[in-house]
């Protein structure tokens, strides 16, 4: 619960003399509410125009027919065109499944790699805690696209990793990782690692150390106290990490475009292609809405479990 200014009204004891500046605090409450709406309106209005209206428009577009090139002014008309959805799904159900599978594997990898690291830093980092955690985030100062391009050089056929190994004859000459699912999943895992590490670290850091000590006092071994105290208390962090990694990873198309090949197409690539190259807006919009609804269900489950305030906090930490 947030402490809000109006709560303070209840803190003033009955019959207490207030200084002039705080007299009429209850009349002030109404003015405060007015001030709240006044301050809310510019940002709120921008969110409506720049976020909510576009979402409504894409839903309308996904049920429209017609369309065409942006420049040629091909108009779409709203006709409850449900066939856009069936077309989107019958053409691309395999790609939806593939995107979900890649994202699920990458999310699992992210969390199993980030959890031990976040745990050790949060519990045993000591005075190096902040520095160590900073070192995890520092690489992500480099632009997302550039980081992904670097993996091209690392995983490339004669790149940094496999070039020397091939020269030594450790791996066969025709061995390659680039353009395979392994490269795409590895890229997603790498790029979304901080989205998993941050909520995990925040959740682990928050755990009251006295609880772990209490478990120890009650003769719990370290394993047991981890299993029965630390792990359950870090579940909100794990949950946040799953959502924050899985949702953007499913829609990702940078990794599959730069590191993948013809057999690793993800739904983001198809949506982008339909919108920007083929200009098939209604079907493209339907594909986007399907992705949005799927992710919305997950996000709602998450908000339900944690409350929107706590969850945006974790999301903000991850950003």
């Amino acid at each position: 619960m947030a402490k809000t200014a109006s709560d303070t009204a209840g803190l003033i004891p009955e019959g207490m003399e207030l200084p002039p500046a705080r007299q009429g605090e209850r009349a002030l409450a109404r003015r405060r509410r007015l001030a709240a709406y006044l301050m809310l309106s510019p940002g709120g209005l921008y969110l409506v125009i720049g976020f909510l209206i576009p979402l409504v428009i894409i839903v309308i577009l996904s049920l429209s027919s017609g369309g065409g090139l942006f420049s040629s002014g091909g108009k779409t008309t709203f006709t409850w065109e449900w066939s856009n959805y069936s077309q989107a799904l019958t053409e691309n159900w395999k790609i939806y499944l593939r995107s979900i599978a890649y994202a699920a594997i990458a999310t699992t990898l992210c969390i199993s790699l980030a959890y031990p690291m976040a745990y050790w830093i949060a519990f045993y980092g000591g005075r190096w805690k902040a520095t160590l955690f900073m070192m995890i985030l520092v690489p992500f100062f480099v632009s997302f696209v550039i980081r992904t391009v670097q993996w091209n050089f690392i995983l490339g056929t004669n790149g940094l990793l496999f070039g020397p190994l091939k020269n030594l004859g450790v791996i066969p000459q025709d061995f390659h990782v680039l353009r395979t699912p392994v490269a795409v999943i590895a890229g997603i895992t790498y790029n979304y690692m901080p989205f998993a590490a941050l909520p995990l670290y925040v959740a682990l850091e928050r755990i009251d150390r006295r609880l772990v000590e209490a478990a120890k006092d009650l003769y719990a071994t370290k394993q047991t106290s981890f299993r029965k105290v630390v792990l359950p208390l870090s579940v909100p962090g794990i949950f946040a990490a799953v959502i924050l990694t899985f949702v953007p990873a499913t829609g990702d198309y940078v990794n599959s475009t730069i590191l993948g090949g013809p057999g690793t197409t993800m739904i983001g690539q198809i949506i982008q292609d339909y919108f920007l190259v083929r200009h098939l807006y209604p079907v493209a919009a339907a594909m986007s809405v399907i992705l949005m609804l799927g992710m919305l269900v997950l996000a709602l489950a998450y908000a339900r479990a944690l409350g929107t305030e706590d969850s945006t906090l974790a999301a903000g930490a991850a950003a």
Binding site: A2, L28, M117, Y124, L132, S143, V247, I258
Partner: protein, 294 residues
């Protein structure tokens, strides 16, 4: 077999509790986990090392996977790719106003959500949560749909050319939510009794706000600005939908990556990374100093 028979010899010795023995768990936290953590830090930093290393790669035209040591040519000719320079200028031209606008709008939102309770507070929080949780590709395609519909139907004769204006508009739209939650977190962490104490000392609400509350949330506002700036500078997915033929740094690099990027991209990446590192380092130092001063 031997499990059934009474154990003898070395087995029996093993069953005796050793007088002082480290639990295996200690090994985990003392040795395995720290080594693992350091390994992870190296893994996460590896592409950055590669980026810096390859800025010294000897290349004819486009960057290749093979590394041939070493030349300063790409550093000397940092401005040799005009399209890249244009893209960098566009990125800065978008990021500064986008971050400034998002900071103003988002700060008000964060302040209101952190300080006041009002009807619609839950709904506003939910919209902000959605704005962060929605996949970028959905937001990007939605914004493009809106611009396309606008241009097709021209309500009141309004139309917009895809390019700098649409990129700027979209960047503000997705940054507001991030600024708002940064400021909100700061406001909620505040001790509200401070402002009340100021009022008890006969400060008017306005004076109390500007002399007490505002300086306390200023770090949150600055953090929000930096976050919005970095998000705008780094954004690829949304920009790629609404940019038309105008390129920002990330969209240009993405386009170029199909043919192989020129080595100048690595040079610029290294430069921007260093600036980011210095900014973060300064923030950390400042935070440490103010902690000591407190």
């Amino acid at each position: 077999m031997s499990a059934v028979v009474a154990p003898a010899g070395p087995d029996a010795a093993a069953e005796l509790p050793p007088p002082v023995k480290r639990t295996p768990r200690k090994h985990v936290t003392r040795f395995i986990l720290p080594v693992f953590t350091i390994g992870m830090i190296v893994y996460l930093a590896f592409p950055v090392f590669v980026m810096i290393l390859y800025s010294f790669n000897i290349v004819v035209n486009r960057q290749v996977a093979e590394f041939t040591c070493c030349t300063l040519n790409s550093w000397r000719n940092i401005l040799a790719v005009p399209e890249l320079n244009d893209a960098l200028v566009t990125s800065i031209k978008v990021a500064i106003p986008a971050a400034a606008a998002a900071t103003v709008l988002g700060t008000f939102l964060g302040l209101v959500l952190g300080r006041y309770s009002f009807r619609g507070r839950g709904a506003t929080n939910f919209v902000i949560f959605l704005a962060i949780a929605v996949p970028e590709i959905v937001l990007g395609s939605s914004l493009l749909s809106m611009f396309v519909q606008l241009n097709n139907n021209r309500p009141a004769g309004i139309s917009v050319a895809l390019g700098l204006p649409t990129i700027l508009f979209s960047h503000i739209a997705f940054s507001i939510a991030f600024v708002a939650i940064t400021v909100r977190a700061r406001v909620q962490g505040l001790d509200m009794t401070m402002e009340n104490a100021a009022q008890d000392l006969f400060a008017s609400p306005r004076v109390a706000f500007f002399k007490v509350t505002f300086p306390l949330i200023l770090p949150g506002i600055l953090a929000g600005f930096l976050l919005a700036f970095v998000l705008s500078l780094d954004d690829f997915v949304i920009t790629n939908f609404v940019n038309g033929t105008t390129n920002t740094f990330p969209t240009w690099v993405f386009g170029a990556s199909r043919l192989g990027i020129p080595p100048q991209v690595n040079v610029w990446g290294t430069v921007l990374f260093t600036i980011g590192l210095l900014t973060a380092g300064m923030q950390v130092l400042k935070a440490r100093r103010s902690e000591v001063g407190f």
